[in-house]
Symmetry: C2
Subunit: 207 residues, 2 copies
């Protein structure tokens, strides 16, 4: 298999962290330079028609894109430790937690940064800085839901570490780097404590 | 079980269409008036803390939110006809197709409409009409990827009808209603023909 990936972007990091939790360390990688537009080259578009990174090329030549779909495939390949649920009911509740994180935290962080940060101007044209700021404000308000939840449970989907923690961590670490944002700055102590728990895992260091 | 839902919004329709394809017709429903803000009442927030509709309350009292997570649960309950994949590999490829539709078509339609349509002003504050217009333009350009794909395959995920077709249909029907938009208007004939194939299914009439 061959993983097309890139440095510093949150979605490639999600897959890398998922691989680290699974103990898969022998995957061949191709690094794309997003700022140079390598994900829009014709050769890459033939693999990933919407120009999305990461993408996983399987041994039979088929290419999987979409971070969470790549993780679903890897979970089937290496079932333990389980990160996405062991039956349909648990898979549904973990998917709910992961989607809440993805559509609220990751989308909030990504739109805030893409529409306001000069470093992302090559990836987002036109930028709408006022829209970006409003999304940052909404994100910061919505984080209280996750902070309150983490006052009574250890991880995003309950009492064990799952893919939802990976998604949230990669989103918030991206915000820490480019928005200089820490949950504790807004008084979100439970969310900050959760972040430190993830940071202490070996996979928390994976870029 | 009890389904919290609302009329005219695309995500509740996705679940209703999924239920119709499964032949589940005995689900009790509570209809929320989004324009009146019923999804932000304290009683509903206790069930769906991010104020999202739909939500499925299980017989044991637990509440599932997030459209696709609700579908994952229902697929476990009523496995046939299969709409989300029969093993991890097929699940991954259908999830990829569904996510491409969701993040490109549904998100494009939703942000375009929410930021530009006066009827959605109560749900999206502040609105950024110029941002909405730019998203509509990007959506219309990105649809060519799906149109090209449908020139050589019958359904969004390949040669059988899946959840990805439900997501795309509900998104494009929402755009038809509020943006007066038809794929054929832009020359997307394969996408229009696919839309007619879905429309002819009994589930295509479900609101």
């Amino acid at each position: 298999m061959l993983l097309y990936t890139s440095l510093r972007a949150p979605n490639p990091r999600r897959v890398n962290m998922f691989l680290a939790e699974k103990g898969i360390d022998n995957l061949e990688r191709v690094h794309l330079d997003l700022n140079a537009g390598e994900h829009r080259d014709a050769a890459y578009l033939a693999k990933s028609p919407l120009a999305k990174v990461p993408a996983l090329q399987l041994d039979d030549g088929r290419v999987l894109t979409e971070t969470r779909a790549i993780c679903t495939y890897l979970e089937g390949l290496v079932p333990e430790p389980n990160l996405m649920g062991t039956d349909a009911t648990e898979r549904a509740f973990i998917e709910m937690a992961d989607r809440r994180v993805e559509w609220t935290i990751l989308l909030g962080v990504a739109t805030s940064i893409r529409h306001s940060h000069p470093g992302l101007a090559s990836l987002e044209q036109p930028q709408f800085p006022a829209f970006g700021q409003s999304q940052a404000d909404k994100l910061k308000a919505n984080l209280h839901v996750f902070d309150t939840m983490l006052e009574s449970q250890t991880w995003m989907a309950g009492e064990r570490f799952t893919i939802a923690d990976i998604t949230a961590y990669c989103a918030l670490e991206f915000a820490r780097g480019l928005m200089k944002f820490r949950p504790a700055d807004l008084g979100y102590q439970a969310l900050q404590a959760w972040r430190e728990r993830v940071f202490e895992r070996p996979s928390g260091q994976v870029q």
